[in-house]
Structure formats: C-alpha cells, structure tokens
Amino acid sequence: MQTKPANKKKKHWRTESKIALAVACIPLLGFIIFNGFPLIISFIGMFCNVDLYNLTNIQWNNFEGFKSVFIPRHAFDLFYFDLSKYFYKAIYITIWIASTQLVTLLIALFIATLLREKFAGSKIFQILFFIPYICSTVAVALMWRWIFDWEGGILNSMLGTNIKWLEDPKTMTWCIIIATMWSAPGYGIVMYKAAFSNINSALYEAAAVDGANAWHKFRHVTLPGISPTTFYLMQAGVGAGLLTYDLAQLVIPNAWGVPGGNESMGLTMMRLVYYLITNSTTTDANGISYMVSCACVISWLLFVVTGAISMVLLHFRDKSVQ
C-alpha cells in the first residue's frame, strides 16, 4: 500500500507511528470484543448448555441443540416446546419473504428507469420516493396495521370486504411483505440512479449508430452497465430478507404464546431466535439452557446461509465489474 509516500515520511513520523498503530487498531479491537466473543460463545453454545448469567457453567449437551432443531418432536420431549415444527415453518416463511426482495429490486429498477431523464417534476418524484425508506419500521408497522385493521381499516372499507387480514393465516404473510415492499425500494431507486449516471454515454451513441432501438439499448448497454449495482442490491436485499425481524414482529406479533402469530405465518428465523432467547428466562432451568443452545444453532445456520449467498453474489459482482 502506498509505499512511495510512506518511505518519504518514515523518518518524520517515526515517533508517531506508535500512535498510528494504536489508533488503527481501535475498530479492529471493537470488532474482536463485540463480535468475536459473541461468535465464540454462540459457537460453544451449539454444543454445550451455556448459562445466560454465569459463563463458567458450561456443559456438553450431546448435540441436543441440533437434535431439537432438526428432529421432529425431539424438543417437545426435552423441554415441552415443539421447536422443529416452528423451525421448518420459519424456514418456509423466511425464504418466502426474502424472495420478494427480488420484486422490490424490479420495482426499484422500473421506477429508476422512469426517473432517468430530467423532466418537469422528476426531481420532486425522486425526493418523495425516498421518504418511506427513512420511516421507522415501528411507525410503518403501526400504519399498515391500521390499514389492514379488520374493523374500520381502510382496506376492508374500500373493498367492501370483511377479511381479518392480520389474523387470517392466508393473508398474514402478505401483510408483512406489502409493508416491506412499501418501505424498501427507495434505496434501490437511489442506487440505480447513481449507477445510470456512471454508464458511458458513448456506448449509447455507438448503439444508436448501429440502429439499436430503446429496448436493445436497455438490454445491451444499460443492463450490463448496472449489473454490479444489481448484484450488490440483490446481496443486500436477500441478506436483509433472510434476517427479517422488525416488520414481521411488529405487523404480526406473537399471539397467545404462539411465536409468529396465528399458525406462525409471520414467523421468521430471527423471530424464532428472539423467542428462544427471551422466553428461555421463564421456563425451568434445563429448558433455558437447551433453548439457548437451539438459538445458537439457528443463528449459525443463518450466518452460514447469508455468508454463502453474499459470497456468491459478490463473486458475480466482481466479475461483472470488468
């Protein structure tokens, strides 16, 4: 890295290279303490029963955490909570929610394309379209819960229907997805707008000379030009989708002790982890440790999946930059 200026300065800075070394390490130090230790503890927690308040109390649990998560009925016999049932449901719901991030991406691309050229009002549209992205998920959830409200909500009033959108297992998940789609595209729109301006305009002129129409230009110049942004947004979006917690939990709260509401149709993987961690303080001592162990297993599973997906997408992104 920058050997030239470094060599030149070496003599003058020598007394201060110690300061430089010390301050350079601060963010790394923070990472090691606040990410490294949780990583290690949760790794141990997959194979051992870890006490929430006394770390010296660690006991090998003979893979009970893994068995409870993956083997049906195993958890119920162990600590009276049918975990694997919820786990498989959460996989299904989480993948469903994460996959709709691709629709969000398409919306963002479509809107950004419409906003590409400057015209009367284009600036105002662009400013307006970003607002949902900065609205807090809690306020957004309050808003959508009122829209989907069974009695007095605007959706039922407008459609003349009488559907319990937030309680009917058939519609619950869609409520989360629509709330997400309302708030998420703003980011993609901004990113795509920036990506458009980085495409070399000579490419369009060359395409025009070759007699390309608007679709050809989009297909052969625009799409390749923005593909690094597309892969980045895909990685960020699918990653965020797999780790959905806020909106799912706020739009569809746990109901009568059932995580994820009616038939757990709002249950995501992160919500299940949260449920295991927080409800572990109320059950008996053995149950506590097993539930924490299961939460560690699910967290690591999510980590491996999100890590693998982002590695693949980053690989494609790096390839598409060339």
């Binding site: 923070g30 808003m143 967290s299």
Partner: protein, 294 residues
C-alpha cells in the same frame, strides 16, 4: 440525454401516470393515518367503516400522547418526550465517538506508516466481508454474561459503536486517500502532531465523507428497534422513541384508540421527514454512498 430527444408525448404521459400511481401507493397509507389521527375516539369506537372526515375532528389524540400516558407517572416525562431524549443520546454518543475513532484509524491507514500496517489492513478486509447480521440477537448471550443488561442495558447499544466500525473506517480511508500528502506535510512542518493534523487538516477536508456517514448512522440509530427491545424493554427510564411507539397499543388499550396509534406513527416519522426535506441532498448521497462503503 441527446439520444432520446425525440420522445412521443404519449410516452411521457405514460411515465407520468406510472410515477403518480407509485406516489399514490407510497403516500396513501401516510395520509390515511394522518386523517385518522384527527378523528375522535368515540367515533372510532363505534364505527366499522374507515371515515375520511369527522365534523368533530380534533387534536385530542396528540394531546393524549403528551398528557395521558403512564410514563408520566413512573418517569415524570411523557414517554414520547423521554423516548426522544433517550434516542438522541443513545444514537449520538456512539455515532460521534465512533466517527472520530474510525477517522483516526482511517487517517493512520491512509497517510501513516507503522509496523504491521499491511497485515492489519488485510485482516480488516477479510473481516469486513463477513456478514454478521445473523448474530444480532444471539449476542444477547454475551452481553447478559458480562452483566450488560437491566440497569446497564444501554451499554450494548452505546459502547460497541464508540470503537468505530470497520466499514466506516474503509469509507473514510478511501476519501482520505484523495487528500494530497503535501497538505499534511505542510501542517507537520508547522509542528502539528498526529491528532492536530487530524483535526486541522483531515477532519475539515473530509467533511462530506463524515456527513454522509453521520446521516447513515443517525437514520439507523434513530430507527433502531431490535437493540432497544432486546436490552431496554423493561427499563422505563431508558425507553427509546421506537420502543415507546412499539408499546403504544398496550399503553392505550381502550377501544377506538386508533387515532392515538396513528398520531404516534405520525409523530414518530415526522422528525426524520422534516430533517430530510431540508437536507435531502445529503440524505440521498449519504445513504447511497454510505450503504456501499466501497
């Protein structure tokens, strides 16, 4: 765009229609909660239809939030006000401190020479690529074991950020690389040390980069819900704005309180939207650039 000057007006009209439809999709929900926040409770409790207007429309819902919630009894302040104050310090303390430490680190990596620099840099690159979001909740096991829960529950939200994120460091470093070495040499010849050079040269010249990182961090901190819910839920004195909003249904459980929920949603969104309207250029740039952190 020279290539597209010959647009049919019909195409332009279709573009407008599509954009207006999208605007309606985005702002219709906000307008419905705004309307509901003015409707009296008695009408909401009895009606089964959404009503667009009421002859008795009033500001009672907003007044209730500031005068009628149980936080006034336990903490002496309305939950919304206390939540706003707590959100501010829980967001700003780690954010400002973290920007400074990340700035120091970026300065060292960009402009200084020190033993182990290349090794540390490579280590940081590898670390930055690991997506750690999946550990957001399970970290609770670590923090509860070191006693950072209950009365100390604000520590997991404040302390880690003070060390400055590695992503922020990379972003600032890239910006610092563009600052000419000659400026630093000149300051150093005047006898300035590491920290003086940082505050006199790097910080002022790096202002755009710091602003974009500040906005990115501020929006994230202001809207953070999971962290406060995990660590501060049973601590009324540490309630944050988002935590308060998430409790609004249990704070006002009576029938017809939808006007209060709506008013709370509006009050929760409003501060950031107002700031955004005045500084939208910084917001869009800050969030677009801050998100990539390349």
């Amino acid at each position: 765009m020279k290539t597209n000057t010959k647009k049919f007006p019909i195409g332009r009209i279709l573009v407008y229609i599509a954009l207006i439809l999208y605007t309606v999709f985005l702002f219709f929900p906000i307008i419905t909660v705004l309307v509901t926040s003015f409707i009296p409770t008695e009408e909401l409790a009895t009606s089964t239809e959404f009503s667009w207007w009421s002859a008795n429309a009033n500001l009672d819902a907003y007044i209730s939030i500031f005068t009628n919630d149980s936080y006034i009894m336990t903490t002496g302040l309305p939950g919304l006000v206390l939540g706003f104050i707590n959100t501010m310090w829980i967001t700003l303390v780690p954010l400002l401190m973290g920007l400074m430490t990340a700035g120091f680190s970026a300065f060292a990596f960009s402009k200084m020479d020190f033993p182990g620099k290349e090794g540390l840099f490579k280590f940081s690159i590898i670390i930055r690529m690991i997506p750690l979001g999946a550990f957001g909740i399970i970290s609770y096991v670590f923090y509860s074991n070191i006693g950072w829960t209950g009365d100390l529950g604000f520590l997991p939200l404040v302390i880690p950020g003070m060390f400055g994120g590695i992503g922020t460091m990379f972003f600032l470093r890239l910006f610092f690389d563009g600052i000419p070495d000659s400026l630093i040499e000149a300051a150093r010849l005047d006898g300035a040390g590491f920290f003086q050079v940082f505050f006199k040269v790097m910080a002022p010249l790096g202002k755009p980069a710091f602003i974009s990182q500040f906005i990115f961090g501020f929006v994230g901190g202001y809207n953070n819900y999971l962290g406060p819910q995990l660590y501060l839920q049973n601590q009324p004195k540490f309630v944050t704005l988002q935590l308060y909003l998430s409790q609004i249904r249990s704070l006002f459980p009576n029938a017809g309180s939808e006007n209060i929920y709506s008013a709370a949603a509006i009050l929760g969104m409003l501060p950031l939207i107002v700031i955004y309207c005045f500084m939208q250029k910084y917001f869009i740039e800050g969030i677009a650039v801050g998100g990539v952190k390349e």
